[in-house]
């Protein structure tokens, strides 16, 4: 009896401090909310659920030792991935050596999913090479004279953004999309971590008359580039933060005029009314005082929904059985109804957001559109 009542432990880490803390905070909020709710619903398999989320300080080495601890000492039943590819890369080998399923709402990586041979279950609706895909599909839908002619790409020097730019094994990537769309690439620059001033980069794009700027980076640098572009009185028709989905983070709205018209991708949007999505959006409005729903929250919610449905559906915590169940079922989640492909990732789907008058609007694809894109 007492054994039965032992809580189910779900463990993972997040960079609650350090440079990944921004996105991590969104994850944490969703995790905590779900933990409360799932227990209100009676837990999983009749047992209460306890999330054990450590702070990895945005440091891979720390995350490694914490995962080691989660697996070995805390003996968690289910394992959540950390936030960001940067940390995830270091953790994956440890997880694999323990033969655990890795529930990954935290990061994308074609390479790692391939490498994990299906033992990693991801809920990002698209992997790195597809990050800019939404934007280019949208561009293809435009009349020829509205399309951009000259592109500038800024890429953060980190594994994830590089793949966003270059694609994976000959598939996807911003460079390929630009070429296929017949756009001339006039600036292709990288910037290292801790870059504090982006004036030089923006000057280059401006000097080259680029009417499209793809910024493939993270939050802080995206904010700065947006602001610098505005201050330089430079008006590229297409400005996309094609790295992380940062326009849906609270800080974006604070930029004022500089935030306007920026494009960004997201896996889903509350207007799609996927299961739990509207409530999640309400929760962020009420509890986090955040008008817009961060994409991170959607992915986090999705992985938890997958876990919940899988455990209840398979009726066990046995990793093999869970795996079997996951690959043959369809999941009803905040990101829509999803099925997992062989490598553990869902089928591609993306919405393109544009920041208009202080909020995000879905501008593509047409069926989910909430507003028309504003183009000069």
């Amino acid at each position: 009896q007492a054994q039965e009542k032992q809580p189910i432990l779900i463990g993972g880490t997040l960079g609650l401090t350090g440079f990944l803390s921004e996105g991590s905070a969104d994850y944490k909020a969703v995790y905590d909310r779900w933990n409360d709710e799932v227990n209100k619903r009676g837990g999983l398999l009749g047992r209460p659920v306890k999330l054990v989320i450590y702070n990895d300080e945005s440091t891979p080495a720390v995350a490694q030792s914490l995962y080691s601890r989660l697996l070995d000492q805390d003996k968690v039943d289910l394992l959540l991935a950390p936030f960001s590819t940067f940390v995830g890369g270091a953790v994956l080998p440890i997880v694999q050596s323990h033969n655990k399923l890795f529930f990954n709402g935290g990061f994308v990586s074609m390479a790692m999913f391939t490498n994990a041979k299906g033992s990693m279950i991801g809920t990002y609706m698209y992997q790195e090479p597809d990050y800019p895909r939404g934007l280019f599909e949208f561009i293809k839908s435009l009349p020829a004279d509205k399309r951009p002619k000259r592109a500038a790409i800024f890429t953060y020097q980190s594994p994830f953004p590089i793949v966003v730019r270059d694609g994976y094994n000959g598939y996807g990537g911003a460079l390929r999309f630009v070429k296929e769309a017949g756009i001339e690439l006039v600036v292709n620059e990288q910037f290292p971590a801790n870059t504090t001033d982006f004036n030089a980069l923006v000057q280059k794009a401006k000097g080259a008359n680029a009417d499209m700027v793809l910024h493939i980076g993270q939050l802080n640098d995206s904010l700065q580039v947006a602001r610098t572009i505005q201050q330089q009185d430079y008006k590229p028709a297409f400005f996309c933060t094609c790295g992380s989905p940062v326009t849906s983070i609270a800080a974006w709205a604070k930029l004022g005029a500089a935030a306007e018209r920026a494009f960004s991708g997201t896996p889903a949007w509350p207007t799609q009314k996927h299961p739990g999505l509207v409530e999640l959006s309400e929760f962020f409005k009420k509890e986090r005082k955040q008008d817009t729903l961060p994409a991170y929250a959607i992915v986090a919610q999705t992985i938890l929904q997958v876990i919940e449905q899988a455990v209840n559906g398979a009726g066990t915590l046995d990793q093999e059985k869970l795996r079997e169940y996951i690959y043959k079922s369809e999941f009803k989640t905040a990101s829509g109804n999803i099925r997992f492909q062989e490598n553990g990732t869902p089928v591609y789907s993306q919405l393109l957001l544009q920041f208009q008058n202080g909020k995000n609007e879905v501008v593509f694809p047409a069926k989910d559109k909430t507003a028309d894109a504003i183009l000069p």
């Binding site: 991590s24 910037f191 801790n194 504090t196 030089a200 980069l201 700065q224 201050q231 604070k254 004022g256």
Partner: protein
């Protein structure tokens, strides 16, 4: 080409002024007291949030906040000096380093508790505006911040070189006991100095907050710049801190314009290392007699 050079020079100078502003407080405290204030960036962070809160709650313009930050952070610095630094300073530079490191972690994480880790951006009505000098487009905020930094540096320079109190503070840095013998209240003046150093950090924080988005953990990246400027300028020398800031700013923007961006920092670091190695004590490089 000519237009580009003009842009690069203007940008470099403005950036340089800001770097000098960031380095100033660090330089004063390191030069006079020998304390490596790694918490400098934490006070910069507080400065940014100081401006942010004043703007958000009371609509106070950051330019005014910069002035308000002076007394507020001066007081804060004095308190830190009296409670923490006096107790570690005598036991050698490394002890001060540990204490300041602790303080940095403390402030940063208290900052996270108070403000969360979310990035903030301070957007006033002039934040997104700019003006043109010939072909160069210059952001107003940078001009304002650069001007304020210059004023701060000028004031510090006048204070340290042209007032007796300032000279006394420099004297303390060179021989504390000899200064005491002359009737100088060392404890009091060091409190002032530390207060000033922190005030400079606070103002620098306001200035950075005007230009760049910030978060509690993010301002630490500026620390590297501050250190760069300080060593390049030579410890405790205000005028050279300014020159060093400008040198760094100009090198950075020139490199930024003419080489791939990923090599900008490499070029910058290499040049700085070369300058330091050739001139040993940075731009100061006075032939100090030690023998």
């Amino acid at each position: 080409m000519g237009a580009q050079v003009l842009t690069v020079i203007i940008d470099g100078l403005l950036l340089g002024l800001i770097y000098a502003g960031i380095g100033l407080g660090l330089s004063l405290i390191l030069g006079v007291m020998g304390v490596v204030n790694v918490a400098h960036s934490a006070f910069i962070m507080l400065g940014s949030y100081f401006a942010y809160e004043l703007f958000r709650r009371a609509g106070i313009d950051p330019i005014i906040s910069a002035a308000l930050a002076l007394p507020v952070f001066f007081l804060l610095g004095s308190v830190v000096y009296r409670t923490l630094i006096t107790r570690v300073e005598f036991t050698g530079p490394t002890q001060g380093l540990i204490a300041m490191f602790g303080l940095m972690v403390l402030i940063e994480n208290l900052g996270v508790i108070v403000w969360t880790t979310d990035a903030r951006a301070l957007t006033t009505h002039y934040t997104n505006t700019s003006f043109a000098i010939g072909p160069a487009v210059v952001a107003w905020v940078k001009v304002l911040a650069g001007g304020l930094a210059l004023a701060l540096i000028g004031a510090a320079w006048v204070f340290l070189h042209y007032t007796l109190t300032g000279r006394a503070i420099r004297a303390i840095g060179q021989d504390r006991d000899a200064a005491a013998v002359l009737g100088i209240n060392v404890h009091q003046l060091l409190t002032i100095l530390f207060g000033l150093g922190i005030a400079c950090a606070g103002v620098a924080g306001v200035l950075l907050g005007m230009i760049y988005p910030f978060s509690p953990g993010g301002q630490v990246f500026w620390l590297a710049w501050a250190f760069l400027v300080v060593v390049l300028g030579g410890l405790g020398s205000v005028a050279n801190t300014l020159v060093a800031g400008l040198v760094v700013g100009i090198i950075q923007t020139f490199a930024g314009a003419f080489v791939p961006f990923e090599f900008v920092y490499l070029i910058l670091y290499t040049l700085l290392a070369v300058i330091l190695i050739v001139r040993r004590e940075g731009l100061t490089s006075v032939a100090r007699r030690s023998i």
